[in-house]
């Protein structure tokens, strides 16, 4: 990536970034643009460089922040109405670390509200469009971040990946994306979605850039008790078997687009030519991962989103009367305060947020807990065990990120099951807490859909993140 130095000024990097942002305005990538403060910071960095003072490893590098990261610059909305107006008094730990190295946030990027979605269509600010085709989706939920990097608006962007939200948009827009081992980067200051699978990660233009960002952002944080002790770059799991696996069930899936199957086969041949043995893996429990995920994740969503009540921060309804059509039979007895909760949540959440909260409350409710939530938690164990067994025989698993390249805007947004099926190859990784790197693997060539990026992911055992990035470098 381009970093400010004696011959390239930070101001010129930021100006170029802001010009690109302006040029691609019609893609609806950003929810907030940080022009003036960004230029001011760049001037300060240039002064330091001129004086020969030390600057960070990301000096003057323009970056985009997914809008579910808290930072003192601009409102943090998570593209949800219920968070509009939230001016954070704190920075997320990840933001602090990036800024300490001289990175400069030029804007906040659009996402599916609360990261609920696989297309960035569920945003209060409208959909972000695919970098290569404005009639197609950006992918999601980190759609804005992926498109910002793909169109060169920024050098890198942050993302979160609960069930594929970094890898799928990366693959839809032809960029690199890392979903680290669960707990590698502190989640302090990031809007929670499903806490047992949420991770922070990055979009960039190369595996080497992702490596630098991981070096900077990883490590234990006393503000996040689920952040792992430092291992990145010091205690990484070795990948030395020279064996790469692929999942038979994925390759044989009728849902997999033929072009992605070909892309996968080509990369496996490339790996073979570089001396890797290719192993076919049978992982039958993965077929159940999506069903388990769409129980566990909504359950955690329902719990995490119960905090939004209009009292302590952000959006509060103006209507204290009972809604005309209420869910509750006893609505007439509600107090003004109860109506404040009810109306704030009714107005503040999008349809998809409501869907997930309701599913979550259903699977957690008495009488259904054992049949749904407990069953899914047991399925999760089986999925983890299958991966553990697989990593005894291979270093890493090569797989498509999603069964298809970017689909049309509006194609799936009214059919949640078909939208959820987009996540079928990405969610097993999250349930097991594994690292995975999405990387570009060519593009479509058919007349109907020319030039749509194709993406694959390389999945490794826990704490193999750095070596996984090295392996990806061999495959691009």
């Amino acid at each position: 990536m381009r970093i400010a130095n004696k011959s390239t000024s930070a101001v010129s990097l930021i100006k170029a970034s802001l010009e690109k942002i302006e040029k691609h305005k019609d893609k609806n990538i950003f929810t907030f643009i940080n022009a003036e403060p960004a230029l001011k910071k760049a001037e300060e960095i240039d002064k330091k460089i001129k004086k020969g003072e030390p600057v960070g490893r990301l000096a003057g590098v323009p970056y985009a922040l997914k809008d579910n990261f808290l930072s003192k610059e601009g409102e943090t909305t998570a593209s949800a109405r219920i968070l509009t107006g939230l001016e954070s008094p704190i920075d997320a730990t990840c933001v602090e670390k990036l800024e300490a190295e001289g990175a400069i946030m030029v804007g906040r990027t659009n996402l599916d509200a609360f990261a609920h979605g696989s297309s960035t269509e569920n945003s209060y600010f409208g959909p972000t469009k695919n970098a290569f085709d404005s009639e197609r989706v950006a992918g999601g939920s980190s759609g804005g971040s992926a498109v910002a990097v793909a169109l060169d608006c920024v050098e890198f962007a942050t993302g979160t990946d609960t069930g594929g939200s970094i890898r799928q948009p990366a693959s839809f827009n032809g960029v690199f994306g890392i979903k680290p081992t669960y707990g590698t980067i502190s989640r302090y200051g990031v809007v929670a979605m499903a806490s047992s699978t949420d991770v922070l990660g990055f979009f960039a233009k190369s595996a080497a850039d992702l490596d630098l960002l991981m070096e900077i952002a990883s490590g234990h944080d006393e503000k996040d008790m689920t952040s792992l002790p430092d291992f990145y770059g010091s205690a990484d799991v070795e990948l030395g078997k020279k064996k790469i696996g692929f999942v038979k069930e994925f390759v044989e899936s009728p849902a997999l687009a033929p072009e992605l199957k070909t892309a996968l086969e080509e990369k496996l041949s490339l790996a073979k030519s570089k001396g890797y043995e290719i192993i076919e893996l049978t992982l039958p429990a993965l077929e159940y991962a999506l069903a388990a995920y769409y129980i566990i994740q909504p359950a955690e969503v329902a719990s995490n989103l119960s905090r939004y009540d209009g009292i302590r921060y952000a959006y509060r309804t103006k209507t204290l009367k009972s809604p005309k059509i209420s869910s509750a039979d006893k609505s007439s007895e509600k107090t003004a305060l109860e109506n404040l909760f009810l109306n704030t949540r009714s107005e503040g959440f999008m349809r998809e947020n409501k869907r997930r909260i309701m599913i979550g409350n259903f699977v957690l409710s008495s009488g259904f807990y054992d049949a749904y939530f407990l069953k899914a938690a047991k399925a999760r164990t089986l999925i983890i065990q299958e991966f553990e067994k697989a990593f005894k025989s291979v270093d890493a698993i090569l797989s498509p990120v999603a069964p298809n390249p970017a689909f049309k805007l509006g194609e799936k947004v009214n059919d949640p099951v078909s939208m959820y099926l987009e996540d079928v190859m990405s969610v097993p990784v999250n349930l097991a807490g594994l690292p995975a790197v999405a990387f570009p693997a060519g593009s479509t060539t058919s007349e109907k859909t020319p030039h749509l990026p194709l993406g694959l992911q390389l999945i490794g055992p826990r704490r193999s993140d750095k070596n996984l990035l090295k392996l990806v470098e061999e495959l691009v």
């Binding site: 939230l86 001016e87 008094p89 920075d91 669960y182 707990g183 047992s196 699978t197 792992l228 429990a285 159940y288 069903a291 769409y294 129980i295 119960s306 009540d309 009292i311 302590r312 921060y313 952000a314 509060r316 809604p323 059509i325 869910s327 509750a328 609505s331 107090t335 003004a336 305060l337 404040l340 009810l342 109306n343 949540r345 009714s346 959440f349 349809r351 409501k354 869907r355 909260i357 309701m358 599913i359 409350n361 259903f362 749904y372 407990l374 069953k375 899914a376 938690a377 047991k378 399925a379 999760r380 164990t381 089986l382 983890i384 099951v417 959820y420 349930l431 097991a432 807490g433 826990r462």
Partner: protein, 95 residues
């Protein structure tokens, strides 16, 4: 599984939001389709399998019981609420 209107109302009640008629009928169809899909899990044999609730590899993370200075002070946090009075968050009358 059949999702009835009564169940939709109950779930909206548990979730603390209200739904208009249009939302209700759309969500009824959506939830029915979603539950049909996730019931696929019943095919999986989970006899004698322990559940997994988290994939964090550590247990009992301790720290000394000391106050750690936070980034935001009381006033900054209070200022985030829609209404304040006398250094407190103001809400509508409860009683």
């Amino acid at each position: 599984m059949e999702i009835t209107e009564k169940e939709i109302n109950h779930l909206a009640d548990l979730s603390n939001f209200s739904l208009d008629e249009k939302e209700k009928s759309a969500l009824k169809t959506d939830l029915q389709n979603i539950f049909k899909y996730i019931s696929k899990l019943n095919e999986l044999d989970t006899e004698n399998v322990e559940p997994t609730y988290q994939v964090f590899e550590m247990e009992n993370v301790w720290r000394p019981d000391e106050i750690i200075p936070q980034d935001a002070d009381r006033e900054a946090l209070l200022a985030l609420s829609a209404e304040q009075e006398d250094h407190q968050i103001k809400v509508p009358k409860v009683l």
